[in-house]
């Protein structure tokens, strides 16, 4: 799978073992071509977040190599690479007491000098861009000076998306971006994310646990379980049987359809956990 001409994100044999001996990632290989909306699906604790964080170096893998746009991620070039890798977070991770404007502008911080950052003196283009993206994600001018914490969850995630696009990222990592939102808003947010990414031809790696959303939005679904990739394919290939295996206690054999039980759970039941 994924033998596209240019792979934007490439993970080669990534291992991550936490200090307490837990294996979060077990020799994971993944290549995501440019412009793809790649959904990582799997139960809690499968290693989805760790995988995403390995891409921008928030988690340092204990083994293997990460390449972003053909460049290997090392502690030395980490900060440069992070500029082109945006991140959207499950809990929005906004500075809740700061204004919406300050939160969106903070997405452009790597591009301003310390003195400018200190006075909040962002360049006019950056201010325009912040307004542009806030409009793009469906907020209104009166939201600009409201505290981010006063907005609803859906609106906060919109701010988070606007912030993520401030630096014209090549890669957007979305870590359970809609886990704490209701289904309709989740759909709106993912639509926004997908459209905004398409405009920039940005690659999106998005972890989800809602199967229906994964099928609807993913160009490709990567199923993860206990730190390993157990499914990798187009959404059409990800049928209910495979879903059952992803979430059940059954062993994931290499392609034999007989090794799992027939009683696959309801989609919602799987989506809930």
């Amino acid at each position: 799978m994924s033998q596209a001409p240019q792979s934007m994100v490439k993970l080669s044999a990534i291992n991550k073992t936490w200090a307490d001996g837990t294996r979060a990632l077990n020799s994971v290989d993944l290549e995501v071509p440019e412009g793809q909306f790649c959904v990582i699906l799997g139960p809690s604790g499968a290693g989805k977040s760790t995988l995403l964080r390995a891409v921008n170096g928030l988690v340092r893998p204990t083994g293997g190599a990460v390449h972003v746009d053909g460049v290997e991620l090392t502690p030395a070039n980490e900060r440069d690479i992070r500029k082109s890798v945006a991140m959207i977070h499950q809990h929005f991770n906004l500075a809740t007491r700061a204004s919406v404007a300050a939160n969106v502008l903070s997405g452009a911080l790597p591009d301003v000098s310390l003195a400018r950052a200190l006075c909040g003196w962002f360049y006019p283009q950056q201010r325009e861009k912040a307004c542009h993206y806030l409009e793009r994600v469906g907020l209104k001018p009166e939201h600009l000076h409201r505290r981010a914490g006063e907005l609803s969850g859906g609106q906060q995630q919109r701010v988070g998306i606007a912030r993520a696009f401030m630096l014209d990222p090549k890669v957007v990592l979305a870590d359970e971006p809609v886990a704490s939102l209701d289904p309709q808003i989740s759909r709106d947010i993912l639509t926004l994310l997908k459209d905004a990414a398409r405009e920039l031809n940005a690659t999106v790696v998005c972890s989800l646990h809602q199967v229906d959303l994964a099928r609807e939005f993913g160009d490709r679904i990567v199923g993860m379980r206990s730190g390993e990739i157990v499914f990798d394919g187009a959404p059409e290939e990800f049928d209910d049987q495979r879903l059952g295996r992803l979430y059940q206690n059954a062993d994931w054999g290499d392609g034999e359809p007989d090794t799992f039980r027939e009683d696959t759970p309801e989609l919602e039941a799987a989506g809930g956990m």
Partner: protein, 341 residues
Amino acid sequence: MNTRPIPVPPEGARLQWHLDQPFRLKHLVIAILIFALLILTGHRTEMDRMVIMTTQAVGNLVGLNDESQVVRGLSKVADSMWPPQLATSEDIGRMNDFNPDDLPWFARVETRETTTQRINEETLQLESATEITEVLYDPTGYVKTVFAKMIETLEIALWGTILAVSLSIPLAWFAASNYSPNRVTYTLARGFISLLRSVPELIVALFLVLAYGFGPIAGVLALGLHAAGFLGKFYAEDIENADKQPQEALEAIGAGKIKTVLYAVMPQVLPQYVAYTAYILDRNLRMATVVGLVGAGGIGQELKGRFDMYDYGHVMTILIAIFLFVFVLDQLSARIRARMI
């Protein structure tokens, strides 16, 4: 999900139930030891004598006994302190810049006759000589002096606070374990902060007066250094305890540590910082009246000087001024706080 069954004891197993009394002999022994320690330290700090003397004083006041050292001492001081000294009179002959056409408000020139008796060396007789001096009598002269000193005290407190804030911000950076460059800088910063906090303002001021001489420099430095220790500790702890999520978001785009603190930590901790700084300003205003006692400027220096010269009337004026000053400040700060919240 990793589900592990909750351990349940096998059926029919006898369970051991214990519900002991809350206190045992150990606790009684500890209580006796604490009581003995209180008796001992109480005697060493003369708490027993304090009780006796206070009882005598109360007895004296209600007329049960006629001798009390406390009442005698207090009434002697009170007698000499009343009335408070408001006026100044200055010998015109000793004034360099006296201008009869430009007297201060309410001030007037008076002539004083002073009669002195001395022995005439030739006749060896006591003679009284009368000397007439002109003095400038200003009925509110001392109030003005005290007011000027009060303003100086305010300024010392203000600059002590400014110094403390500007010192403690870099200190807090190095003393916050999640932003300090390494363990060495962290330990050094924490150690320095503890050192600053551990020495009381008055003692710092005592040494700074030796270094910088009498006057407000020593006062500002003493207040600033001590408060920097306090602020540094609290600023640093707030940075450490701030919500990690917004910081992770900025770290993830490579914003760098300083910008991350500015945009992800500062918005969260700013209200607390304002509260700490306001507390320090409040504390410095009160401490600034005291550091003068060791010569570090402000009203305290005036108070000490007058006290040492037994000018208890002046002392009374100063004490009233300090009381009014602190009272007005309390009212002001309460009002400002009410408006800010």
